[in-house]
Symmetry: C2
DNA sequence: TAACTTTGTGTCAAATCAACGCAAAGAAGC
DNA sequence: GCTTCTTTGCGTTGATTTGACACAAAGTTA
């Protein structure tokens, strides 16, 4: 085995794919770099891992200091090792993705500098580094994960209606899903609980308000949407 | 952003969960350490990432030089960041898993030093570092992946029979699977192709020989074994 | 040749799924 | 008020898939 201490360790970066959902649109948070390399190019937010940090600490630091977000759902995605991925030298990226609830979405959308911006996932600019590939993998992961684990709720308020949930799934999966079959399956899967309350407001029939089921049974399963 | 060059980067290790299959037994390759820390303790094989290496290069180097294996199926698993996971200092581990075909299994099983050994996954010793957790995750990944992707073939010879494949799945998933339903599903999924040949030998009825379908249709799917 | 093991193929009732109908609740227009 | 329209909740039905078996063909053993 090689000597343990080495001044030749690659740098370790954490890159973040931050997803938000509002107005029937799935969006990603991008950052316009103000320094070389890739100056004036949109990229994923990120930072270098500090010696005493765990991955999620670095994620939280980025989300907090750069974007003013707290209490965010985080998941490790994949590690990227292409030697030429950063022109400055060898940088390994440990990519994560984050799901932002509407409260955080609204705060950041209002107060952000113009070098930080939400982009509809269908209308993204070209990205610097290998961030296009990282983004693509993150979206793929989100799409497959939502089919077997109740992860979408992180993108909604605590209380939500069935049509809202239905639209979220259609939006993430980018398909149409039969409203009535979706309802039956998501209820069978026990992902959500009917609170008994109803959403009052402008709509026609007032829809029931649901919440995420925090202790969902062990035998959770494939949703198999349509 | 922090300064780019830093002498304080964590070390980067690649750890490998090497799976092999023979005699209806799923096994893992372990290494008995001959130096501190964890001297005389069984651990997963691994090495530190060199500056010019991609992850898979490091994997191949370990497999080749320590274990004499070539042409191995490799997949990145997960990255482990617990600051105390290595008593020598901060070491990030990028875990991978490997699937070894019987040819390589036989070679290594015969020629290995006694500090390298295959262990039935049901009869493993205690592992050093956080390798027990890494192993557990690898096994979990293999078990879920085999349900939606034809990955098991990496553990078999190029030609194999239906009963052999059936036993492999039972062994990996650690359940019993109805022989006839398994057959129907694996054929429906178009994972394999009947070569027309038959395995001659000691057995009773000579079973058909199949091969892995290398261009399997895009619409690949959940197997949903029993 | 008979008994037994192993492998390939088929059957069938039960469960699941996709497609769709319909009525209740509320809004909008008259 | 009354009618019409939209939205939401709840069912139904026919087709498909699934799990549990039966059975026959191929080979071995005695």
């Amino acid at each position: 085995m090689k000597p343990f201490h080495s001044y030749q360790n690659p740098s370790l970066a954490i890159d973040l794919v931050v997803f938000g959902y509002q107005q029937r649109t799935l969006s990603v948070l991008l950052l316009n770099r103000n320094e070389m390399p890739f100056k004036d190019t949109w990229t994923l937010p990120g930072a270098f891992l500090q010696m005493d940090e765990r991955f999620k600490d670095t994620c939280s630091r980025v989300l907090k200091t750069k974007l003013g977000m707290d209490n965010v759902y985080l998941e490790q995605l994949y590690s990227f090792d292409e030697p030429e991925r950063d022109p400055r030298g060898r940088v390994i990226a440990i990519a994560h993705y984050a799901l932002i609830n509407p409260k955080n979405f609204a705060i950041t959308a209002g107060s952000m500098a113009n070098d930080v911006q939400w982009f509809d996932i269908h209308q993204m600019p070209e990205l610097g580094f290998d961030h296009q590939e990282i983004f693509t993998q993150a979206l793929q992961r989100l799409r497959s994960k939502i089919l077997y684990f109740p992860v979408g709720f992180e993108l909604l308020d605590d209380l939500f209606t069935m049509p809202e949930l239905h639209e979220l799934y259609e939006c993430i999966l980018d398909t149409t899903i039969d409203r009535r079959n979706f309802r039956r399956k998501i209820l069978d899967a026990q992902y959500i609980i009917n609170t008994g309350k109803k959403r009052e407001g402008l709509q026609n029939r007032h829809p029931d308000l649901y919440k995420f089921n925090k202790k969902l049974p062990k035998n959770a399963f494939q949703l198999n949407i349509n």
